[in-house]
Amino acid sequence: MMPYIPQELITEILARLPVKSLIRFLCVCKEWYALITDSDFIKLHLKSSIETNRDRTLILNEDEFSPPLRYFSAVQFSKDNQFRKTFEIYKPLQNWVISDYCDGLVCLHKGYEKLEVAIWNPLVRKYRKLPIEPIEEPSSFSSAIRFSHLAFGHDPRNDDYKVLRVTEFYMADSMEFEVKVYSMRSNSWKKIDEQWPNKEICCQKLLALNGDVYWLAADRVVKDLESILAFNLATEKLRLYETPVPPDDDQFTCLDVLGGFLCYIVNDYLNSDVYLMKKNGVESSWTQIFKIKQHVVCRDFEYFRTLMFSTNGKKVLLEEHQECGHTNLIWYDIEKKRCYRVKNRSFPYVFMVATCIGSLLLLDGDNVIDPRQKKNKGKRKRN
């Protein structure tokens, strides 16, 4: 006779399973359905996924200039840092673009104003469109150029996933901002009335990290003064940080995230210096962790994004964007100062990486129905 296993031990076993298995096991019995869909279990499972890099999948997001495809290319990136073969993931919304990602969820948007936003869990095949929140133009800015930025992240204080939308309005001499935040818990948008400093956003992306959203901002008055701004998703307040080094005229800078830390990259045509803010929120903790000499070490690259450290922390995985447009994934060995290119013929020519991890969030979302799935319905053996 099978020994009776108490619920907390079943939970221990289930928390160690990959997402696909758990989805299938929703059908085992009512108790298991309740266990797997319980929000505390989902958090426990996510934590375990993050710790073990379970179900880690890189979505290779092609740029808007590539021909529109119905599927994203993706590759499984196992915990021992091996790339498995690439496969295809059906896009939940055609012609939408990936803006950001967090805890296995991917944020998508449509249009340059980014009015249409959706959140998607590719491994669970569920998505949800956000309610459309109009951009309110400030008075006297009716002929302004405007541009929206999106960030998606977790607010640990409220245990909520939020989307931040910052819209800049530019006129000849002045600028204005509109800032709105969407909360997944309340499924609603809210306007932020905080006074915004007169600094332009001067980086490609806003970065969400540990409950804050960071970006590089250039002062409109004091030329060449660059700062890092941080918006806290819980307090909804802004903070200003100094960059580790003041960049020169001929250098260009990027902000990124690496190993759970804020990362600042200074590029010129000879070198790229990479700094890490080793203690979150502590300016004095900026540390240079490595420097890549362009021509000696790598091929001509225009810029790179830092993706993640290897397990032992001795190598860094970089998304290298070459001048000719080609994208490569390369491992940079910090000690040996050498690059190793990840060879995979099925990677797209140009892409940006969105990292997903095994997560059961958004189980109550709308289904993503892969048309290829429907075709095979008749042929598949029922289990």
Partner: protein, 148 residues
């Protein structure tokens, strides 16, 4: 001491000032069968030995432990795993509990619903049509599952 439940017993004894003196103390473990207990004792001894041998090298410890665990799994029947989990849980032996839970997860990961129900002695208690609806919604998760 890895068997936290046993440690607790000793701590309680000391608190009650019972002079146990002798090195052979009988500790009642009513909820653990002798066979899984023997395996857990061997596991524990091996773990401590490997740890002592590789005092400073954590990576070596992990590697050797993994090799031992692989060997152990070959000798243990899947059904025994549930007994081992219960025993490790009762003894509050965290490392073994983690290991055996991982082993069960690994064993059932790619299996069918029917296999899992049989393994844990469960029955479907869904309302009429509920299970069918779920299978329809998540049909993709049934692909590539091991044959029973």
């Amino acid at each position: 001491m890895k068997f936290c439940a046993v440690k607790q017993y000793f701590d309680d004894e000391n608190n009650n000032n019972i002079t146990s003196g002798a090195s052979t103390t009988m500790i009642p473990l009513p909820n653990v069968e002798s066979h899984p207990l023997a395996i857990l004792i061997t596991y524990c001894k091996k773990h401590l030995k490997i740890k002592a041998n590789n005092a400073d090298n954590k990576k070596e410890t992990e590697k050797e432990m993994e090799q031992y665990e692989q060997e152990l799994l070959k000798k243990v029947m899947p059904q025994e795993l549930t007994e081992l989990i219960l025993a490790a849980n009762y003894l509050n032996f965290k490392e073994a509990l983690d290991f055996f839970c991982r082993a069960v997860a690994s064993a059932i990961q790619n299996k069918s619903i029917e296999f899992v129900r049989k393994f844990f002695g469960l029955e479907s208690d869904f309302e009429l049509g509920e299970e069918e609806k779920l299978r329809e919604e998540f049909a993709w998760s049934f692909e590539g599952v091991d044959e029973d």
